[in-house]
Amino acid sequence: MLRVDVSRQLGEFSLQASFASEGRVTGLFGASGSGKTSLINMIAGLLRPDRGAIAIDGETLDDTAERVHVPMHRRRIGYVFQDARLFPHLDVRQNLDYGRRMNRLADDPAQRARVTDLLDIGHLLDRRPGQLSGGERQRVALGRALLAQPRLLLLDEPLGSLDEERKVEILPYLVRLRDEAGVPMVYVSHDADEMRQLATSIVMLGRGRVTAFGGTEVLPTTP
């Protein structure tokens, strides 16, 4: 269960959002500039709310009234960025292993094999990020976030920087992730079709406010 009730002023833009979601994949849907990324940055702890609270499964991550702010590295929230952000000085294997090392988790070859199989990245382990295609990079970023064993996975338009062909290539992996990985996700996108395929509940954002909440039926129908 993810509970968000926050406000934050960013220059001229004011973000004020409140929702609670229990879905496996919560879709944050809205046009660019609607505040989607700022909102998940707050969930991740990259951005602090001016006022409000964020909690996962009853554990408070932010509460301005109680002066609580859990730093990002202690939140155990995975984040897949639009631009992958793989570490260029590490190979794929080391990138995948990074979160486990930082969280001091025991080595778990079975889990690693499961994730690399799920994402079909086993043949890329010895490569450097510079030698990967955009789609491969994004799959490795997904694997890296998953192997840190997060309790929530944030995905910020992970298909945003890919062309149509690559999107079609990655989407099935995201569906598999939703059905097999067992980690709740918050999925950010402005693409209604993507949302329909992935999300189990939708939070619609417009100009920094929640405009609708519900199942995928709240999404606008594309003609």
Binding site: A44, G45, R85, F87, H89, Y98, M102
Partner: protein, 231 residues
Amino acid sequence: MFDISPTEWTAIQLSLRVATVATLVATPLGIALAWLLARRDFWGKPVVDAAIHLPLVLPPVVTGYLLLLTFGRRGLVGAWLADHLGIVFAFRWTGAALACGIMAFPLLVRPIRLSIEAVDRRLEQAAGTLGAAPWRVFLTVTLPLALPGVLAGMVLGFAKAIGEFGATITFVSNIPGETQTISSAIYSLIQTPDGDTAALRLVVVSIVIAMAALIASEWFARRALRRLHGN
């Protein structure tokens, strides 16, 4: 011509020791300060920045004299260090290392600072979301990515330290076997009748050391760049 005398050898070895110690001690300090200047805003930052660069613009003899006043036997810090820790800088090779380290510091810090500023902060954020505490982000992401700048700073600092003359001779004088580096040995030799050949030998030696340092740094920088571009 190439028959290097024992006194000259001593000067060469001393120069190498002084420059190496100065660089190795200054590097961790330089990295810490470079990180502060690149990544943090704090009160008095312009003053700290200016103070680091001061040895670059002050006449070296002034820096040397200030060192003598501070770290000399009767200096404020020097007396305390000598009485409590038994550390003496005045007229010792350690004093030469201190003078060289301070003179080299601005040249060492600058490339490190620039390369830390060039590290993509989004990668540091990604490391944070993967569970890395800020100091581990620094050790596993920022520092490895800034490595070419660190090496460049070390080489520049070393080169400056091995050539330092004014501050060193003012602070610790020109004592053969203790504080006489290549530079001060050359200075003494060209003031001695018939010292020209010996001076030239040391000139050649300093050119060789400088060239070797530059080639080594270029080699390290290339290797590091290859690592960074991820292929």
